[in-house]
Amino acid sequence: MTPERFRAVVSAVLVIGVGISAALIGIGFVAALAIGWQGSLAGTAPATAATTDFSNLPARLAALEPAAIVQLGLLALLATPVARVAASVVGFTLEHDRLYTAITLAVLLILLTSIFVLR
């Protein structure tokens, strides 16, 4: 993999992550302005959970709750840097750069540990 191609791939990961999250957050936000944060686009019973509650997301997405759509977008945004580091691991591997593959892999592991273990 050439350095140019590597950069293009990492950049594309960021563009895709930002694009998906901006679209979801934008759609959810506009929907919330239209029908309120406790509403549901699917016309089911209004949401009772606080908007800060990220639990039970699949069911609330199925009900097309604006808050749930924004939450999915926020999760996509938070996952973007992680995806970027993961893409860098692959990139350095394909560049046969052992030192930086090891460094990036270590960063990825520390990152995943701090997200899923330290809380």
């Binding site: 960021l14 977008g73 938070l78 860098s88 930086y100 809380r119």
Partner: protein, 280 residues
């Protein structure tokens, strides 16, 4: 939130994204006071929104910076090793260390660095000395295209061990105090490792998203991320960061320093204020 408040938060966030993308910082210093003082948002929700703002600035600006060779990916990944381990240590230390003294100490260090920034204001690019053996070995030497100067600017990282240690401390501090991670990164790359200002800013931008993502789970689980506030913040910051990342090419290193300096002073004063018990 009323539609007026939504619009106000969006506008502030555009500014935060723009400044953040240029200066290599997350914009929390602008977003948090604006939300709490301007719109009466609870401090915890404001901090949660600022985490979202940091990641949005980073990912929004870095897409362009990585593609255009403004971000040094090797420097970024090498130093992320220091900041992420530091952040984990900081989060663990938070339970045992009383941060009051640390807040004041950090604030003084930041204001001291501001004086150094003023002294360096006349310098467009750092002196181009031959790369050290360590910089060659770690491949921390490269060049970036400067459209303002109209040429390729070569550079290599100096004082790498000291830079690495400072980055580790930057990670500890941001894990412990939750602030200043962007300014400390820029200071370490520009001031200690002597990378060009634009490369320092773009590489800091690249890194801050990872640092923030590491702690984002904690804020989510605590219920500090509220879509009602985070949505206008994220959309505004992304728009601002995309605009800022277009702008960086065309301004001089000196201009970047001019944008960075007031942010540095503001973070320094805010940090001391928090240590002394007033402020946020």
């Amino acid at each position: 939130m009323t539609p007026q408040a939504d619009l106000g938060i969006f506008a502030i966030s555009v500014a935060a994204g723009l400044i953040g993308a240029l200066a290599g910082v997350g914009g929390g210093i602008l977003v948090i006071p604006a939300l709490t003082f301007g719109f009466g948002v609870d401090i915890h929700l404001a901090v949660g929104a600022s985490i979202v703002s940091i990641i949005a600035t980073s990912s929004g600006a870095a897409a362009a910076y990585v593609r255009d060779r403004m971000t040094d990916m090797r420097v970024g990944m090498f130093l992320e090793l220091a900041t992420t381990t530091g952040a984990v240590c900081g989060a663990l230390l938070a339970a045992v260390v009383a941060p009051v003294f640390l807040f004041v100490l950090l604030g003084v260090v930041l204001l001291g660095s501001a004086a150094m920034q003023v002294a360096r204001m006349g310098e467009e690019t750092p002196p181009a000395d031959p790369p050290s053996a360590l910089a060659r070995r770690l491949r921390l030497e490269s060049s970036y295209p400067d459209r303002h100067l109209g040429r390729e600017v070569p550079y290599s990282a100096r004082r790498i061990p000291l830079g690495f240690v400072l980055m580790w401390i930057a990670g500890v501090v941001s894990g412990l105090l939750g602030i200043g991670s962007g300014v400390l990164k820029v200071l370490a790359m520009d001031g200690v490792m002597r990378l060009p200002m634009k490369v320092s800013s773009a590489t800091s931008n690249f890194m801050i998203g990872v640092t923030a993502a590491a702690s984002a789970g904690i804020y989510l689980a605590r219920g500090d991320v509220d879509p009602q506030i985070a949505a206008p913040v994220a959309l505004g910051v992304l728009a601002g960061a995309l605009a800022g990342s277009r702008l960086l090419h065309h301004v001089s290193n000196r201009t970047v320093r001019l944008v960075f300096l007031p942010v540095l002073v503001a973070v320094g004063l805010e940090t001391i204020g928090r240590g002394l018990g007033f402020g946020l």
